[in-house]
Symmetry: C2
Subunit: 195 residues, 2 copies
DNA sequence: GTCAGGGTAGACAAGTCGGTCTACCTCTGT
DNA sequence: ACAGAGGTAGACCGACTTGTCTACCCTGAC
């Protein structure tokens, strides 16, 4: 075996991460046991512990994959618009589609995975990974903000993240995709005021 | 024993609810075992199960007490201002004090208890109680909103709750009390636009 | 044919959970 | 004095948890 990973190995690992994400996202990390992940993924316990030394490592891999999937999706949406204000407006419209369950590759909406995990899991490595997602999101938005308000980009970023967090929470707790449109309304007021 | 509850009984029950709240709030309901609540409250296990048939009932009592404490505190803050716009602004200033840990009777800030519990616990009765808190909060704010915008009070309420949720999440995840002031800025823009 | 590697199923260990129960103690009313 | 309510400490039960380990199976190289 000269390769570092045979196709089968990669597949099993992926199946584990995908199954774990769906269960963790829907019901919470601590509510879902290893055995449930195993039966959902169709994988033996020994194989899980061959790839991941512990449940927490599996969770970190899940966070990693989710961050990539979410940020790639959002980056794709933003790139369909001109840089600056249109892309920033598109951000909230994309959130709306996500809340409404119209983005299959993100699975049906149950709030922000990173917010939920950060509130539930105390582990420092997990906390750090959730923080990193916020930084990556900030890096994604920052070029557009600097394009519109070179002097106040950081302050406007805080507004955007607050509106995103608020819309996600409201959408998750009340099952109302329109929360994204409310956030967009507020954002447009803020954008106009800062112009 | 003609009284329905002797003083001692009330005390033990209160100690249980208080200790459980602090632990549940800081570390999450599922992360805290019954035994930990018992030793923190200085109460025997049999006494707990004399007052509450199960852990979930204890959680419901904790939610009840927290709702009363939080809403009473906020109602007190709002009542110090004239009805309408000043009280609504005071809402966000009160949140800021809460985030900054300057409201001892609410304990040090770790996000909104009801949001955290609603995201963590699946039980329908618990979910319903968390929803009820949102309704009670809405009822607290509505008179002031109707005073300012009789026609658009409901829409403005959604804006306020979105800003509250966003500020709480941001403050909890980043330990930044200023999130409340950001929410206030956005609220003032919204208030001006709706005038 | 045979033999190792990576997979399977699942028993098992060690520990925690919520919840029950026994045995004892300490007040209070009469 | 004494019965009984309500408290304490903590042993105990069954179910569940993560993680280990045994025993087996299937496939591909030679």
């Amino acid at each position: 075996m000269s390769h570092t990973a045979t196709p089968t190995v990669v597949d099993k690992k992926q199946q584990l991460v995908s199954a774990a994400f769906q269960l963790f996202y829907q019901r919470g990390v601590h509510q879902v046991g290893i055995n449930e992940v195993l039966s959902a993924a169709g994988v033996a316990k020994k194989t899980l512990y061959h790839h991941f030394p512990a449940k927490q490592e599996l969770l970190l891999a899940v966070l990693e994959q989710r961050a990539t999937a979410w940020l790639d999706w959002m980056a794709g949406r933003l790139s369909q618009q001109p840089q600056g204000a249109p892309a920033l407006q598109c951000f909230f419209l994309a959130l709306h589609d996500w809340f409404a369950g119209e983005v299959p590759q993100l699975h049906s909406f149950h709030g922000c995975f990173f917010t939920k995990v950060a509130l539930e899991v105390q582990d420092p490595a997990v906390q750090a990974r959730c923080q990193q997602f916020r930084l990556d999101l900030a890096a994604l938005l920052m070029p557009h903000l600097q394009c519109c308000w070179p002097q106040q980009a950081a302050a406007q970023l805080d507004f955007m993240l607050l509106l995103k967090d608020g819309a996600e929470t409201q959408a998750a707790l009340q099952a109302v995709p329109a929360a994204a449109l409310r956030a967009l309304s507020l954002w447009q007021l803020s954008a106009r005021a800062a112009a």
